[in-house]
Symmetry: C2
Subunit: 227 residues, 2 copies
């Protein structure tokens, strides 16, 4: 089971890398499920079944899955440990779980900039206000232990980017991370977390890290564990 | 050449891993050189020659080294890029350099703590006052490019520690990192950077990350480059 497949960005990779697996991908949003289904079918994969479901109210039989995959989902939940406990019910004895999350507090760069850190902090605060946690990557070990999983093994996946890696400068620093922070600007200013000029300075400083002498670091965390 | 060998902590590893190499290890401190020599001789290695020298005033012939190794040295220098330029002179054509540095700004942990970050910041500020840079790890790429090196390749070496790794909790989080931060407390309070109670709270919060649900992250950076 892929719990919280969203628009299927990871589903395509799962279907491709595990052609022998029968995958059930769920998401709470019907629109996302439809987009994910279209994406996976357009790639020609037929081993994924999509269902609109809520992680906290699943219709499956207990112990009916060999593996559960959860990627970029816990960060949005008020009660991530409870979600893991519930998912655990549906994993067979000795079955496994994979959890992947980012951690915005793992972001640092050269040239360093207080303004850029403050702009990132806006995203962290907004996520917190909406019940989520942008710093959850570092917490995967205690969350999985708390949910009763065994053999919890967490490995960081650090993204280190300097100008010798132009495709990552474009694809990650600019178009993924900075674009995502830039996207919360209006909400952050409206919420009174920051003023527009300070936010703009932070964004400019994030773009500054994409110049030839710039460096950008971010870390994702991957956890695997056994029921 | 090992430039800035200190008391020989890395020299032992170099001598062991490269038994065929003739190593010249230099340091500006005679006391350190003597300690390093004793350490290496006590392990039975005979392929290291020690000399008390200043990186900025070396007596060697240009291009006389195949490789230069610099570990935890640049962080102490006011002019790290100039030091790299000077060392480059002594490397033969197509010879190589290895540079390893930490970066205190790469430190984050669970539970998160503003007080702990402020205690770490004391070390960063004191290092800065004495002309050094505790955030230099992330800067290795631009520093080596600026010094004229080619084929610069930087790889982060992230230390991720949770309670499934008790030897790292003890050996790194407690006895290396937190002990090092704890060691600057008196200087930081004397310099008026922080008050004693706030510093103590920060240290207590760093120790808090070594409890069973705690997590600690730190990243070293290793760069290799060609003349």
């Amino acid at each position: 089971m892929e719990a919280g497949c969203g628009v299927g960005a990871q589903t395509v990779t799962l279907a491709q890398n595990s052609p022998e697996a029968q995958i059930i991908s769920i998401d709470i949003s019907e629109a996302s499920i439809n987009e994910a289904r279209q994406r996976v079918e357009s790639k020609g994969y037929s081993n994924v079944h999509f269902q609109q479901e809520n992680i906290f109210d699943l219709p499956f039989e207990p112990e009916s899955f060999d593996h559960v995959f959860v990627c970029f989902v816990l960060e949005h939940l008020l009660n991530p440990s409870e979600a893991l406990s519930i998912l655990k019910k549906y994993i067979r004895t000795d079955g496994t779980i994979t959890v992947i999350e980012g951690d915005h507090g793992s972001t640092y760069f050269y040239p360093d900039s207080e303004a850029a850190h403050r702009a990132i902090e806006c995203q962290v605060e907004l996520q917190k206000k909406s019940g989520g946690n942008s710093l959850i990557g570092r917490e995967l070990y205690p969350l999985l232990i708390q949910a009763g999983f065994k053999k919890v093994s967490v490995s960081p996946r650090m993204v280190y980017i300097d100008s010798s890696k132009p495709e990552l400068v474009e694809g990650f620093t600019k178009k993924t991370f900075t674009a995502m922070i830039e996207g919360v600007g209006a909400s952050a200013v409206n919420a009174g977390i920051i003023d527009q000029a300070s936010f703009d300075k932070g964004i400019a400083d994030l773009y500054r890290t994409t110049e030839p002498d710039g460096v950008f670091c971010y870390t994702f965390f991957k956890a695997v564990a056994e029921k």
